[in-house]
């Protein structure tokens, strides 16, 4: 068995503007989730657990925090002799100036030299902003068995949801025979999860050809997959079952946190055989005070609860003072809720202080309140 048979590239360049103030200062994959994690911990831990040892993280926007975070490969055990997590940003080259990544495929194209140094047989392309657990090695086994040029992870969705996804139309052997981007009238309910395994030689050739095409979107969904399909290459759909969530909006990020409160939630973050690794904070265990009330909560170490917490997720270092109430809410790292304050159906951003007696959010509001400033 060869080390580094498959290399992973995580596309982590998005501005994530639908996450509003949360991504003002951090890139979307660095956004906090689930008490102690960052979103990018999921693809990185999946890689480590799947035996994918070299991971490139493609970033360009406000990525100082993301860059220095993922550079600590040891967090995921990815710091052995021949493994590593490498931050790949746009670079100035001998034959080209500095330019942003023009699309998901262009981000890979601009890093062909990096990939070539490892000479992998397969390339795994991932997105940096999905929450899920997946064994990429199982997907690779199917890719190999099928002899595919590309294998795309797909998830069955409802017919209604299918109109919002890239949809794969397959034959009885899971071979992809057609592909539709956000179809008005879906011919299938298999949605692409944006997770691809490519035969690297074939992909490399197409990327090089696509590079100088002025009309190309340089995008996997829009350009590369159609090119492979039209070229008669074998594309295979690999069905995934389990928890998967694109946390692209404040509401979906809040929901994904709330999902952790259901008994035996699908994500099973406490499964010892498939841990999600993250940076450990140097903090005490959670302190629950003498007069605290905690009912249905997900609370991590370093939090201090002396008030009331109901149906909420409390992140590292969050402080809830005596008399404060937090209901149906998500308190990101370092949030303080002062005495008498009430937070309801809200997502409070990192480090924000909710002052004494302040009221944030409301049980009646349909949308989740994002509180990104002290109040």
């Amino acid at each position: 068995m060869k080390q580094n048979e498959m290399l992973a590239m995580i596309l982590a360049g998005g501005r994530g503007s639908r996450l509003l103030a949360l991504t003002d200062k951090v890139a979307k994959p660095a956004v906090s989730y689930g008490g102690k994690y960052r979103i990018v911990d999921f693809p990185l831990s999946n890689c480590a657990n799947s035996g994918v040892d070299v991971v490139g993280v493609l970033t360009q926007y406000e990525s100082v925090l993301l860059n220095s975070y993922v550079a600590k490969g040891g967090l995921w055990g990815l710091d052995t002799k021949d493994s590593g997590v490498f931050v790949l940003t746009p670079r100035e080259k001998a034959d080209a100036g500095l330019d942003v990544y023009r699309g998901t495929a262009d981000a890979i194209t601009q890093n062909i030299d990096f990939i070539d140094t490892y000479d992998p047989k397969y390339l795994l392309v991932l997105s940096g902003d999905h929450i899920y657990k997946m064994n990429y090695d199982k997907m690779l086994q199917v890719h190999k068995a099928q002899g595919a040029a590309a294998t795309i992870a797909v998830m069955p969705v409802s017919l209604e949801e299918a109109t919002r996804f890239g949809i794969m139309i397959t034959d009885e052997n899971d071979r992809i025979i057609d592909f539709e981007e956000k179809p008005a009238h879906p011919r299938s309910t298999l949605a692409s999860m944006g997770i691809y395994i490519f035969d690297w030689k074939k992909l490399r050739k197409i990327l090089v050809e696509d590079k100088d095409d002025p009309n190309s979107a340089h995008d996997f969904g829009k350009t590369i997959i159609p090119t492979l399909l039209n070229g008669g290459e074998k594309l295979v759909a690999w069905r995934f079952e389990g928890y998967w969530k694109d946390v692209g909006t404040i509401d979906s990020l809040w929901e994904a946190n709330m999902d952790l409160l259901t008994d035996n939630n699908d994500l099973q973050l406490d499964d010892p055989t498939w841990k999600i690794y993250t940076e450990d904070a140097t903090v005490l265990p959670a302190f629950i005070g003498p007069n605290a009330e905690v009912d249905t909560a997900y609370i991590t170490q370093g939090a201090s609860v002396e008030g009331t917490v109901k149906h909420s997720v409390i992140f590292t270092g969050a402080v809830i003072e005596e008399g404060a109430k937090v209901i149906d809410s998500v308190l990101m790292p370092g949030v303080t809720v002062k005495a008498g304050a009430v937070v309801t159906r809200a997502l409070v951003a990192d480090g924000v202080t909710i002052g004494e007696g302040a009221v944030v959010g409301s049980a009646d509001s349909k949308a989740i309140t994002l509180q990104a400033q002290d109040v």
Partner: protein, 369 residues
């Protein structure tokens, strides 16, 4: 980086009943998240002393795995080093199992260290201390040895295996076994600063005097020849000399001021992470005045307790005044009060384990009650 290397001595006289049968005191869990040895190692690392020898007297597996290369203690694996030193021969009589013997067996490795000074700290006492400050003051004072002590006013209990220091100003007159003769005593923290060469001489002298001599014995024997000074330590100080003292030191942390003293943001106590998920508090759970580690699932009632990672507390269970260690399961309707429950134990549904008032119970590793 400091001009000293560190030595963490192993515990030999102290007996934390029950817990100690399974691991050395340094490897005992504290506050559900730390191990006792995290305190001396963090003290050294925070003081810039990153070349450290850890003497292990027995059952090295858990301590070796916990310490690893020391990266989680901020010890640079190229420039710094945590060297684990094991006993080279099994002692056929426990009287030979002294800290001096362990040092003597590894004198070659002490000689090899580049640094001029050595800072010696015990693995079985919990406190924080800037050891570089102690080193600087020692070097400036011209003393041969500086020893750290803590003045206690409740000397009746918990110090039975400690040494007490008699002082003349800041000069040490003697270091002798603790006697319960007065309420106020200067308890030796078994923490010494001296030159490496002096330590080597003391080890050789001790061996030549008696095979049972400890480091404290030989230093006491030298008080008339050497300039030995004492520095007083302020703040939390908890020597773990018995199960009772371990329990009290743990429970004291439920006092916020006490916890804030020991766990200051300026003086981080590092430990190895277990990568556990956050803890789930299910509907119907009731938790008051407790520390709860990650990876637990709580459905019952917890009061005045310390819950370690991966603990499951079933519906209707009641845990009070207890320390529940990693991966324990407390079944539905079970009751624990005044207990220290070792790792991997199972308290079956409905079982009641209640210690008499003022006493502490111990539930064995992997036991099923």
């Amino acid at each position: 980086m400091a001009k000293a290397f560190g030595i963490i001595t192993s515990s030999v006289d102290q007996k934390v009943e029950g817990l100690q049968e399974y691991r050395p005191i340094g490897a005992i869990s504290f506050m559900g998240r730390y191990r006792v040895i995290d305190f001396p190692i963090s003290n050294l690392s925070n003081s810039g002393i990153i070349n450290i020898q850890v003497y292990i007297s027995s059952k090295p597996r858990s301590l070796a795995a916990h310490i690893g290369t020391g990266r989680h203690y901020n010890i640079n694996s190229k420039r710094g080093r945590i060297q684990l030193l094991f006993p080279t021969e099994q002692k056929l009589n426990a009287v030979y199992n002294t800290n001096i013997n362990a040092l003597y067996e590894n004198m070659d490795y002490i000689k090899m260290q580049h640094q001029e000074y050595v800072v010696i700290v015990p693995s079985c006492m919990i406190f924080t201390q800037d050891l570089n400050e102690l080193l600087q003051d020692h070097a400036a004072s011209g003393a041969d040895i500086t020893v750290l002590y803590h003045k206690v006013t409740d000397a009746k209990e918990g110090y039975s295996t400690c040494n007490e220091i008699a002082l003349d100003g800041n000069r040490v007159k003697s270091i002798t076994p603790f006697l319960e003769d007065t309420e106020t005593e200067n308890i030796s923290m078994e923490t010494y600063v001296m030159k490496k060469d002096l330590l080597l001489k003391l080890i050789a002298d001790a061996k030549a005097t008696s095979s049972m001599y400890t480091l404290a014995n030989i230093i006491n024997a030298e008080t008339d020849k050497l300039d030995i000074r004492a520095v007083e330590h302020k703040g939390v100080f908890a020597p773990l000399t018995s199960l009772d003292s371990y329990y009290k030191a743990s429970m004291a942390m439920l006092d916020k001021a006490c916890a804030a003293d020991l766990f200051s943001p300026d003086w981080p106590i590092y430990t190895r992470t277990s990568d556990s998920a956050p803890t789930r508090y299910l509907a119907g759970s009731c938790v008051k005045n407790s520390y709860i580690s990650n990876g637990a699932v709580i459905e019952g009632t917890v009061e005045n307790s310390i819950i370690a990672r991966g603990v499951k507390i079933g519906k209707g269970a009641v845990v009070k005044n207890s320390i529940v260690m990693a991966y324990d399961t407390v079944g539905e309707g079970a009751v624990l009060d005044g207990q220290v429950v070792d790792k991997y134990a199972t308290i079956r549904p409905g079982t009641k384990v209640v210690a008499p008032a003022g006493q502490v119970g111990y539930v064995r590793h992997s036991d099923v009650l």
